[in-house]
């Protein structure tokens, strides 16, 4: 299966599974569920996956350097809390600042003090989730009007959630493919020592990846809080695991160096289609949660390969 792939797939992580699975799901659902192809449902899928896509693109940076960020879900929760609790003028800056600080702490812990990323971000996840619940014990609060507008409006029939996706993908693509930073991220993921020999600054690049991931968490919260028009201190719970599962499904190598925007996008789409399909066919949402765990395992096993010697 791997052998028929063109060599030019390089480090994108794309493969038969990551491309074929969403197509298969799409075709299958169009045949099985009558209302799947209706414009309303497609728009639903789009708005449902927007949050996950933003978080997954953040997670992508961390995965590319061989790390993992379990705390990004908690960042979504804390940001959502801040958005409804601070002065409306400061809501967005406060959420972004919180994301930046948490990402910086994660990055410094991992890159400077050598804490294992799983431990560092697991500890951070617990800590930040606790903070969010301390500030606000249940969902509610008043979301600034501007945020609701930013998540719910549409331009000439194009829902704004689509623009959110487009912007997130564009920013990630430019960062990864057009800047030195992006090249250095791939280099570190493939071999830290060699990258250092070539003059790549390892620590600052790694820290930047964790900061980007947390900022993506804050951005996701800004969108989602506006969309549901309410703050929620546990809003981010599913996103830590789901973002890892999504990029793994898309073919991103969790040990680093392989993956890209397309992989993250297709993986998110796959997960979104699975969720949507279960909704349409009336499967319990808890089953969706159970299957995510299985999918992660399947995704990692399916993509376990040595494409270009990593």
């Amino acid at each position: 299966m791997i052998a028929i792939l063109p060599r030019r797939m390089g480090r994108t992580g794309l493969g038969v599974v990551s491309i074929g699975l969403p197509i298969l799901l799409f075709v299958g659902l169009s045949l099985q569920a009558d209302n799947f192809l209706q414009a309303q449902n497609i728009a639903n899928i789009n708005s449902q996956i927007t949050t996950l896509l933003i978080v997954a693109l953040g997670q992508l940076f961390v995965a590319l350097i061989g790390g993992i960020d379990i705390s990004v879900g908690s960042v979504v929760s804390l940001s959502s809390t801040l958005l409804v609790m601070v002065d409306p003028a400061l809501a967005v800056p406060a959420a972004l600042l919180a994301g930046a600080v948490i990402g910086l702490a994660n990055g410094v812990g991992v890159a400077i003090f050598g804490v294992h990323p799983l431990i560092m971000t697991l500890a951070m996840a617990t800590f930040v989730q606790g903070l969010a619940l301390l500030m606000m014990s249940g969902s509610g609060g008043t979301v600034p009007e501007a945020l609701i507008w930013m998540a719910k409006t549409s331009f000439g029939g194009v829902p704004v959630s689509f623009l959110w996706c487009l912007a997130a993908v564009a920013v990630t693509a430019v960062l990864l493919n057009r800047t030195r930073f992006g090249l250095h991220v791939y280099a570190i993921g493939a071999g830290e020592q060699s990258a250092a020999f070539s003059g790549v600054r390892i620590a600052s690049t790694r820290i930047a990846c964790y900061v980007i991931c947390s900022l993506a968490g804050s951005m996701a919260a800004i969108y989602l809080t506006g969309r549901i028009a309410s703050g929620d201190p546990t809003m981010g719970r599913p996103f830590s695991l789901d973002s890892v599962t999504a990029i793994a499904l898309g073919g991103v190598l969790l040990s680093g160096g392989i993956g890209g925007v397309w992989a993250a996008l297709l993986g998110t789409l796959t997960l979104g289609l699975i969720t949507n399909g279960m909704n349409l066919t009336g499967v319990s949402p808890f089953f969706r949660e159970a299957i995510t765990g299985v999918l992660l395992l399947v995704a990692v096993s399916l993509h376990r390969r040595k494409v270009i010697g990593i």
Binding site: R7, R8, G10, R11, V174, R178, T179, R180, L183, H184, Y186, A187, G189, A190, G191, Q193, S194, A195, A196, F197, S198, G199, V200, R201, G257, I258, V307, I308, G309, I310
Partner: protein, 512 residues
Amino acid sequence: MSEAASAPAAQGRVEFRNVTKQFGSTRAVSEVSFSGRAGSIHAVTGENGAGKSTLMKMLAGVHVADAGEILIDGRPVSFPGTAAAREEGVSTVFQELTLLPNLTLAENMFLGREPRRYGMLDRQAMRRRSRDALASIGIDIDPDVTCGDLALSEQHLVEVAKASVADSKIVIYDEPTAALDGPGTEKLFRLIEEQKKAGKLVFYISHRLDEIFRLCDTTTVLKDGAHVATLPTAELTRDRLVSLMVGRELAQMYPPRATKAGGAALVVDGLVARSGRPGVSFGVKRGEIVGLAGIEGQGQRDIMRAVAGLAPGISGNATATDRQGAVFPVGSSIVANTRAGIGFIPEDRKSEGLFLSLSISQNIALGMLRKASMFAAAVIDRGRIAALMKQMAVRARDAGQAVASLSGGNQQKVMFGRWFSADVDLMLIEEPTRGVDVGAKAEIYRLLREFTENGGAILMTSSELTEHIGLCDRILVVREGAIVAEIEGARATEETIMTPALTGSHGERAAA
């Protein structure tokens, strides 16, 4: 200590002044002083572990000197990283490949110094300049190809091209020909000659005498981290250079060879260690030390690891005979080997051999307890360990000291102690003295000989030819996975080993 400084200081592009580097308790480089001038090719040579690479890595910005200073064009420099060194015009072709398999060729060439336009990567410039650099050394590879898809020899050439694109005045090559084939080597030599003509200083690390005599203007010899001599290559002969490198009588280092060999301890028959490789057959007798020699990467390690059961062979047979005469198969798994009384000493003792955070006695006791059942109480025989430590002259505070804090030589002795205490009678040893200082080397050689005198047998590999020549009773030369020559230890010389190792035949003598 130095015999002569080759060039007046005024001409020195690089000058080392009393440069010292310490790793833990071993002094890798000790007060080295010499200088190299612009527009010359300067060989840095010496045995393995002489400190060649460490010294050059200080100039390349990988290590920072503990003492002394490095001057470039008369100005003291200190590089916190390779990027800083490159800024000053030092580019390096490292011995270990630094190409990243997920980047394209062009990306690899410019990693860390990417050309930019409007703040973004200038991929066009990267492609164009890569193609030019590759063309200049006569290779034609698409700069957009992912490096992981290239053959190993191609990767090494790209590595060389990578150093040549840098706008440098000093170029360091660390054993560049190790992975190159004949035509690749010729391309490299032409490039180096051009760099010399362009007025660059080229440091050429190698212990291949032919290359030094063919290429280099000046030769610096290091030994055990210290500077021995810096001389114009024209004033040297092969014999003189070898004696400068070895610097001591081999006879003093090595114990006498076996006087008598006993029955078979290990018989290997048609063992294919890796697919595509030929089968090998050989034996090791009691009382013997047999070495698998050859150029690195020719399959010695595969054979050793197949016999050890770490990477079981594809086909063929290996059997061992214990002291009672019982014959049993070996190589199916390392655990079965160990339980049957075969000790394995890996080349990387820190990751594959020792438990660094555990004590000396715990590390040794693992061997003693090899036959104990899993749930039996682990009783450590302290008297036995104390006696062993004394016999092996392990220098440590006491048996409770953590192995991590010992010097390389003492760690290696603990490794041997594990198998001595386990009463094994066949030992498979990779690199018996890697990273061990000279004094401890002699002691380890004595211990190994004592082991075989008492009826043990040893199969070993080593990247040091002198070790094969001094220690082994028989040397099997491996080339492309096949045993191409068998040489009696007492008659072996560097030449009699290297000729079959390089050419596969003994008929012709190596061109000198």
